[in-house]
């Protein structure tokens, strides 16, 4: 195949699936075959078809964030990650579905309908990067870009049986990533294999003058790290991530993965991260607080749609009330309350303290000689569509094992470790700040050994 032929084939496959009798609704926009182009035929991603989550700004497609309020919005500029991927030869074949403004764990909160899990179409693909995860899992693209604010790359990767990486906060530029909770948001990569996800991360990582939170540290050899092995590494297993009520089948898969790592030469050590119990309450104060501020820009004035009203305030209210979905409005309400006079210290201030303690838990364990941590990615496999939509708190608890990495800013990866009742399950490797290479070495070893055992 020529470099462009792969992308043309991917576009054809996407159109055939999404316009056929059993669509996944993974894509919100698909490239026109005649618009495809390879910018670099020698790059690390030469000719590779790439799917991009629809909260990353692209000049060739609308960027809707899965919201009616941005219906038809075409960004005047390209996000840094998409620019870098294209410069390395990737061909963007479409924009993928997501929970509106990345707020959700199932992709059911999209204004353009839910995405289905390719392993079982009665179930969710996870979220919020559910479209990207489903597209990779269905074999439509080998890799995709997503974003992870509380687990939105790792949890859908686990639900769809693929690999998902959330890098260290600051490793990847957020320029052109539509903001949800800026202190937690990080662009992530999804791939069929650890190598695919690492290859994309290698390309999009690194300092960007357009994002003040992007870091100047050199990017290590991420691709080379995948096959490095785990000999001599100390891998911690936090007690708080294997609670008494955990599904015994999931516990067994975690233990099997740990045995594989031990056989490969790693040392396994039980550890404690005592403030983990505060992670969900902390996240669901901080993320909505930041969201309430970030989403104040959707007022019908500068971009997107406008609800015509007689006066300015009514126009703001009308635009936001009709343009935003219920989960987004719920989080804006929660965040506005948490930041309002009289409640700021009680909620936001306390949550910031909890965030520091959660961060210190990780630092203490890593300082004590632990090279990385291993946990389940999610407490359950993919749940049924509609099952958790009536209970927001139950939906929020899907993120219990993933939000801590965002709160602390450390990198995490989800890698398939087996299946329960026919549904894929992911294991999560968490590493110290800036040590994505260590994390990829462990994930690569697990992938080789677990796939080898299943073959």
């Amino acid at each position: 195949m020529t470099t462009l032929a792969k992308a043309a084939h991917a576009v054809g496959a996407i159109q055939e699936l999404e316009n056929g009798g059993a669509p996944l609704n993974a894509f919100l926009a698909v490239a026109h075959p005649e618009s495809l182009a390879v910018a670099n035929s020698e790059g690390l991603l030469a000719g590779i078809p790439l799917a991009v989550k629809d909260n990353l700004a692209t000049t060739g497609f609308d960027t809707t964030c899965g919201s009616k309020v941005l219906e038809g919005y075409r960004s005047p500029y390209e996000s840094t990650v998409v620019r870098r991927a294209k410069a390395a030869g990737a061909v963007v074949v479409g924009k993928t579905n997501l929970d509106e403004f990345a707020m959700g764990s199932s992709t059911e909160n999209s204004a353009y309908g839910p995405t289905l899990n390719p392993h079982d179409r009665s179930r969710v693909p996870g979220g919020s990067s559910g479209g990207s995860a489903a597209a990779v899992a269905a074999g439509l693209v080998p890799m995709a870009l997503g974003s992870d604010t509380g687990g939105s790359v790792r949890q859908p990767a686990a639900f769809c049986g693929i690999v998902g990486i959330k890098p260290t906060y600051g490793r990847v530029s957020r320029y052109g990533l539509v903001a949800y909770a800026s202190s937690l948001d990080q662009v992530g990569t999804l791939g069929r294999t650890v190598t695919d996800a690492a290859r994309l991360l290698q390309v999009v990582s690194g300092y960007d003058e357009r994002d003040a939170t992007s870091d100047e540290r050199p990017v290590p050899d991420l691709l080379g790290a995948v096959g490095r092995g785990v000999e001599g590494l100390v891998i911690g297993v936090p007690n708080e991530y294997l609670p008494d009520g955990l599904d015994p089948a999931l516990r067994d898969l975690v233990n099997t993965a740990l045995r594989e790592l031990e056989e490969a030469g790693a040392k396994i050590r039980r550890v404690s991260l005592p403030h983990t119990r505060y992670a969900i309450p902390c996240y669901y104060v901080l993320a909505p607080a930041e969201a309430s501020s970030n989403l104040s820009r959707y007022d019908g004035v500068r971009y997107g749609v406008r609800c015509a009203e007689a006066d300015l305030i009514s126009m703001y209210q009308g635009t936001r009330s009709t343009g935003l979905g219920i989960e987004v409005k719920r989080r804006i309400m929660l965040g506005t309350y948490a930041l309002s006079a009289g409640y700021y210290d009680e909620y936001y201030g306390t949550a910031q303290r909890a965030r520091r303690m959660i961060t210190e838990d990780f630092r203490s364990v890593f300082d004590d000689g632990v090279d990385a941590l291993f946990t389940p990615t999610s407490p359950t496999p993919a749940f049924k569509i509609g099952e958790r939509m009536d209970d927001p708190m139950e939906m929020y608890l899907s993120d219990v094992f993933t939000v801590t990495a965002n709160l602390a800013g450390i990198p995490g990866i989800s890698v398939p470790i087996g299946s329960i009742r026919g549904l894929p399950v992911g294991g999560q490797v968490l590493a110290p700040w800036w040590q994505e290479d260590q994390m990829l070495a462990i994930a690569g070893e697990l992938e080789t050994r677990i796939q080898g055992a299943e073959a």
Partner: protein, 107 residues
């Protein structure tokens, strides 16, 4: 701590949102259910609030420096705004008047 319906209506005004009577009732219940879980933070021991450890903070933050006033490559946001905004005239966003503000008073 719980939120009453009147308070929820007040928060909605601050958030520039509007809800129907049934919607606000349901939302108030949901907010209270979420806030019950948030109450767990009350058990947190005292300590300062610092977002990131030094290892986790970008180098520019650690040096106390910030991004320069201008990026080397100029931003394109000053161009094309008329194409993405709902209403645009003579280089400005067009909006309806503030409530109670007559056109001749605003001049």
């Amino acid at each position: 701590m719980s939120v009453g319906q009147k308070q929820a209506e007040r928060i909605a005004i601050l958030a520039r949102l509007h809800f129907g009577a049934e919607e606000i009732e349901r939302l108030t219940e949901e907010l209270n259910h979420i806030l019950q879980h948030v109450e767990a933070l009350r058990n947190l021991e005292d300590g300062p609030a610092v977002v990131h450890s030094e290892e986790g903070a970008p180098q520019a933050w650690q040096r106390g420096s910030t991004r320069g006033s201008e990026a080397e490559v100029p931003d394109t946001l000053d161009q094309g705004l008329n194409k993405v905004s709902p209403d645009w005239a003579e280089g400005f966003f067009v909006v309806p008047p503030l409530p109670g503000l007559h056109k001749d008073e605003g001049a």
